[in-house]
């Protein structure tokens, strides 16, 4: 810590002042700005003291990746280049991170899936890379539209996984994400997810910190594994590794290594609660009906709650901010009074509802829906309709006009 404190108050080559992260995010003046989510990603990275960004085009993150190229041209990012594919990009991110750099990248949908082999490798190697995932459809036939199914695949990689609702979340969480994931007891990669297009391509008012203040640089010497040691694991993975031996010691070592990754996810809980002000946000959780959601489904749920109030139905809301670490106790507490728990999601499988069912007593209270996917929007009316149907109230079909 002494090394980090020593740079606070000094300036980088762009004249930005390295600022205590808590002061930067909680005390520095904010300027309201009207930006798309992609532009907000650029503005956060401008203040993130990033050493390396590696890009590959895939909708809907291409714009953000291109905008960070502009930051590189302006001198705010140390190095920037395009990889040969998403798999190559994530491998190159690992190389840069192994070398002690603060690394950033963005991907989406099939890109996430193509690069998947790298994510448990990042976590296993304790590389605190930050990856923005602007979620979109992943299955054939092709869809570039919003769909959060890819998050389900990230949940068991050992990465931290956060799900932003708004562009403001994005701005703050990109900066906070580096602080949490670079803690020496955590030191894990972060997948910071959002719903593609809904967040990346719509404009919103976002309160930005001053451009002349930035995060302190990454200190690789606080890493829990040696930096750039070519002889020892995790860099040395394939020459005489213990994973290639068939004996109890080798298996026990590898098992313990895996346990340590998930222990680090657990340790991130304390830091995530500190920086995100809790793993969840709650409103009116004393109500009989509670909506639990993540991403932009939270916004739709909030509007549905307003519409239900007009009809005299009181409803609470839980916004799940962090998916890894998973807020099991928080959700159990927030839903303890609920007779009905609705989980609206932008994916076909309902992975969030499954996680919630596994976390709470009386899981039959969970209504896994409404679901939309493949790029469909989720009008708040269908959440209202789902809730009213479950309560035995009269509702009407939203599917068409009838004959």
């Amino acid at each position: 810590m002494a090394e980090i404190k020593s740079v606070i108050g000094t300036q980088n080559k762009k004249g930005q002042t390295y600022t205590d992260p808590w002061k930067l995010l909680h005390e520095a003046p904010r300027t309201p700005s009207f930006f798309t989510g992609s532009e907000v990603i650029k503005e956060a990275i401008r203040r993130a003291s990033c050493d390396v960004m590696i890009a590959y085009p895939i909708t809907p993150q291409s714009e953000a990746a291109a905008l960070i190229g502009e930051l590189f041209a302006e001198g705010y990012v140390g190095d920037y280049f395009r990889g040969e594919s998403e798999f190559a990009v994530m491998s190159q991110c690992a190389g840069a991170s192994f070398g002690g750099a603060r690394v950033f990248t963005t991907t989406a949908g099939p890109g996430t899936m193509r690069a998947m082999e790298n994510f448990p490798m990042w976590a296993g190697a304790r590389l605190p890379i930050q990856m923005i995932v602007t979620c979109r459809g992943i299955n054939s036939p092709l869809s570039i539209q919003p769909d959060t199914l890819e998050i389900a695949y990230l949940l068991n990689t050992g990465m931290l996984v956060w799900h932003a609702e708004t562009a403001q979340d994005f701005f703050d969480w990109i900066l906070k994400g580096y602080i949490v994931s670079e803690e020496p007891d955590v030191h894990l990669p972060l997948a910071l997810c959002c719903d593609g297009f809904f967040v990346t391509h719509t404009k919103d008012v976002v309160n930005l910190t001053p451009t002349d203040m930035c995060l302190p640089p990454y200190d690789p010497y606080r890493s829990p594994v040696p930096c750039m040691d070519m002889e020892c694991p995790p860099v040395r993975m394939m020459r005489d590794p213990f994973v290639m031996k068939s004996n109890y010691i080798s298996y026990a070592t590898h098992a313990s290594w895996q346990q340590e990754i998930w222990a680090a996810v657990e340790r991130s809980r304390k830091h995530t609660i500190h920086w995100l002000n809790g793993l969840i946000d709650t409103e009116n959780t004393d109500a009989d009906i509670v909506i639990v959601a993540s991403g932009t489904a939270v916004s739709q749920g909030r509007e549905a709650i307003r519409m239900l109030e007009d009809e005299g139905v009181r409803c609470g809301l839980v916004k799940v901010k962090a998916l890894r670490p998973w807020p099991e106790e928080e959700i159990r507490e927030a839903t303890k009074n609920a007779k009905h728990i609705f989980v609206p999601e932008f994916n076909v499988t309902g992975w969030l509802a499954k996680e919630i069912r596994a976390s709470i007593p009386n899981p039959h209270r969970v209504h896994a829906g409404p679901h939309v996917c493949g790029g469909m929007t989720m009008p708040p009316e269908i959440i209202v309709s789902e809730i009213k149907t479950a309560l035995g109230m009269k509702t009407f079909s939203l599917a068409g006009r009838g004959s």
Partner: protein, 210 residues
């Protein structure tokens, strides 16, 4: 707060990481004993007591203090040597303090020489061979320290202490955090102060050979 306690083993064929059992790391200025957050002063007393009780109290210095890669590391190494010399001065006949390095983390086959080193991938070989019943990790990268501490807890009854330069280790039975030259020297001073007040367990069966 978790009911789980981080105790000497042998605990299990594959024991859990203490963090996954709800054990949290201490905040700055604190330490933990058996997974319970405590004051640093109490931890100094308990660490010194465990050292003086042990038949083979051992310090395992890792690469971060073995190599003089910066001035701070060199000073810490000197402090570690001072702690070891203090231990030798303070133990009773029959006790055998040891200083065994963990020079690197390479998997070594067919096996390491447990007389001269400890390796994080199979630390129990060194614990068993030397009948070590109390050890302290210092200067070991956190990931490798946790790996070793958990494996030791799984297969031996050795009492483990971590003098960690970062956030501490839940997988040790006792852990300091933000280790510095001053903290190592304070532990040495505590050992010296408790000299002669702690009964070594020389007659007990050495459980570390499990």
């Amino acid at each position: 707060m978790s009911d789980y306690r981080v105790l000497p083993g042998p605990e299990h064929f594959l024991p859990p990481a203490a963090a996954s059992m709800g054990i949290s790391l201490p905040n700055p200025g604190e330490a933990h004993i058996n997974g319970v957050i405590t004051s640093e002063d109490k931890a100094y007393e308990e660490a010194a007591r465990q050292f003086l009780m042990a038949k083979v109290p051992t310090i395992f210095p890792g690469p971060l203090v073995l190599w003089a890669w910066n001035e701070k590391a060199a000073k810490k190494a000197t402090a570690v040597r001072h702690l070891f010399n203090t231990l030798k001065e303070c133990v009773q006949p029959g006790q055998k303090p040891m200083l065994i390095p963990m020079p690197d983390y390479r998997p070594k086959y067919p096996k390491i020489n447990p007389e001269v080193e400890i390796n994080p991938n199979h630390p129990n070989l060194t614990i068993w061979h030397n009948k070590i019943d109390c050890c302290m990790f210092i200067g070991v990268h956190c990931h490798q320290a946790n790996l070793s501490l958990k494996i030791i807890r799984g297969g031996t009854s050795c009492y483990t202490i971590a003098m960690c330069a970062q956030a501490g280790h839940e997988d040790a039975m006792l852990s300091f955090r933000d280790a510095s030259v001053e903290k190592i020297m304070k532990l040495a001073d505590t050992v010296k102060r408790l000299k002669g007040t702690v009964q070594p367990r020389l007659s007990a069966k050495n459980g570390a050979s499990n």
